[in-house]
Structures are given as C-alpha cells and as structure tokens.
Amino acid sequence: MMRTVALAVLALALAAGVASAAPVGVGVGAFGGLSYPILQDDVGNGSVYGLRVPVRLLPMITVEPYWLTGKMDDATETIGGVEYTRDGFDNKGFGANAILGRVGGAGFHFYPFGGIGSHKLTRAGTPEIKETAYNFGLGFGISPTPKVSLQIRGEVNMIKTGDTSRKFGNATVGLNYDLLP
C-alpha cells in the first residue's frame, strides 16, 4: 500500500512537473556495475545493470524512474569441512529516485539521491520476495560533451523483508544522454 501511494505521488509529481515547468530536462541512461550483499552470510557478490530516465523538473530537483536487474553469485559455506553452495538472488526491480541536483548537462555534477521501488528477489528453493525497496546514495556526473555524461554512483538498495531487510551496496558506471532540452 505504502509503495503504491509513494509511486503514485512520484508519478503525479512527474506528470505535474512535465505539464507545468517550462524547461524540463529529459535524459536516458544505461548503467552497470557491481553489487555487494551487506550483512548477508548467505549471498555472494554479484552484478547489476539497468536503465534510468532522469527528468529535471526544477533546477535542483530531478526525478528518475529506473529499472534494474541484478544477479548475485552463489554463497559458499564450508560446513564441517564440506563446501556447500547456496543459490544467489536474482534482483529485479523498478521505481523512481529523487535527485537533489541535475544528472546531465555540461560540467561536473555531484548529487545525493533517494528513492523507492518495487523489487523482486528470487532464488532456488525459497519463495520469491516481492517487496518495497528503498534506495539512497551519491552520484557524480562528468560531461565531456553537452549531451553525453558519464555517471558514477554508489548506492544502498534495501529491500524490506518484514521487520528486516536485504541490503545491497551497488557501485555503478553509466552513460546518460540528454534528449531535452
């Protein structure tokens, strides 16, 4: 419920911004990188990649819908001298981040961001976890040309599991292309 409301609010903000703000900036980007489990004994390191669509509503506010997919490596545990492996999670999700600043454009940008999404964790032998996810982190944008920028980000992706969560630290590199203006 909370996820639905939050996503609806973000969507409305996005629509309102697009409808009313004069110079709206819209970009599209792809990213990929490494994903590390945080405080999870039963998951290995992995990779993550996806797409982002940053929409600059105000000079300092950007809303960025995203889609990502990740594959965590199997965890290996030596138990009583015998090595066992546990299937790593597949992490698929979508949502939106709110960015304090701008992603594209000329020059160098540094921006904090936070967001909410709906993510699904699946692994062999366990019912899937489909829950609200929260993201927060920091990003850098470096633009060698007016339309194209390199995006480097570090973020925590936290997927709620009842009273606890599964957390992943993601370090990604991406390219963003400004469609508008």
């Binding site: 945080i38 405080l39 999870q40 004994d41 039963d42 998951v43 545990e77 138990i79 009583g80 015998v82 066992y84 492996t85 546990r86 299937d87 692994r123 062999a124 032998g125 366990t126 936290m158 709620k160 599991t161 009842g162 009273d163 606890t164 969560s165 599964r166 957390k167």
Partner: protein, 179 residues
C-alpha cells in the same frame, strides 16, 4: 536548503534506530548432526539442538526477527528394500523419543519428504533442501529461536517399513536479526 539541516538528521535517526529495517542482517548458523541409523518403527534416534552453541545466535538472540533459510544437509543411504520418503520432525523441547508414531503425533514436521530409492544413496544440496522446509516448521523454529533455543530433531520415514542411515548430517539456519 535550510530545511535540510533538520530533514537529514531526522532521516538518519529514523533509519539507524535500533530495530529499524536498515540495521539488520542475515547470519548463518550450522550444527553438526551425528551419523544415525533410523529403523521403523521404534528404532529412531533424535538429536538435541541448542542454538546457544552458536556465537552469532548468542550475540543476537534478543533481536531475532525471522528464519530466512533452512536446510538439512547430508548423505542418506536407504538400506531397506523399498523406497523411503525421509522427513524430519522436531519437538519443541529436549526429548528422547524412539517411536515414529509418537514423534509424528507430538512433533512438528519440519522438513521433507526427501525420497531415496531402495538400496540407494543420495546427497542433498542446500538449494534442494531449502525447498523442503515446511511453513509450520519455520514457525516452530522461529519460536524456539525467540525462546530458549532448545529443540530436538528426528529423521523418520513417512510410511511403511524402512531403514536408512544419515552421514555427515548438518542443520543450517539463516536467521534474520535486528542489530
């Protein structure tokens, strides 16, 4: 920007508060199970488990929130003449039952069935074993993890006449804890 002076500390306070979903983790506990021979219907041997034997559990026992994964690992030899479906039951206390009917009537089915053909040997891996964990068993183990941490496991055949051995048995639990 002035509002950020208040918003950011408040956000940090909420996120890092004890018991918050951010300050949590998943820790693996494993227990050696002794090699056993189970014979229908009164030759069953149980294994008493004390979660307090594991330091990760002792460190976080007051903040256990859930059991996120469970597996019974080991090599199963069916020394009988018919296929056997092996199940693991638990009693919530430390018990020394030997009778399969009593174990089924007083215990909680935790895991299984895992079929081993007559005369065959099968080693189960973690992924396959995790899928055999029952909902009732998960609830019972969680209650024990939140309680005194003591319970007893029994491996039995689901029906008929059977005899099987279990070698290099392990019990693996992944506990969800607040930090």
């Amino acid at each position: 920007m002035k509002n950020l002076r208040w918003i950011l500390p408040c956000l940090a306070l909420v996120l890092f508060a004890p018991g918050c979903i951010l300050t949590s983790g998943q820790f693996t506990l494993d227990f050696d199970l002794p090699d056993v021979t189970a014979t229908s219907a009164t030759g069953i041997v149980g294994e008493q488990i004390d979660l307090n034997d594991e330091s990760d559990y002792k460190d976080h026992k007051d903040n256990v929130k859930d059991i996120s994964d469970f597996a019974v690992l080991g090599t199963f030899h069916n020394t009988g003449l018919t296929d056997v479906d092996i199940e693991v039951y638990m009693t919530r206390d430390l018990t020394t039952l030997t009778d399969a009917a009593t174990i089924r009537s007083t215990g909680i089915k935790l895991w299984g069935p895992f079929q081993v053909p007559a005369g065959g040997t099968k080693t189960i891996d973690w992924d396959a074993s995790a899928a055999l964990f029952t909902a009732a068993g998960k609830a019972a183990v969680l209650q024990e993890a939140k309680g005194d941490g003591n319970f007893t496991l029994y491996a039995v055949g689901s029906a008929g006449t059977y005899q099987f051995d279990v070698e290099n048995g392990k019990l693996v639990l992944v506990i969800d804890v607040g930090i």
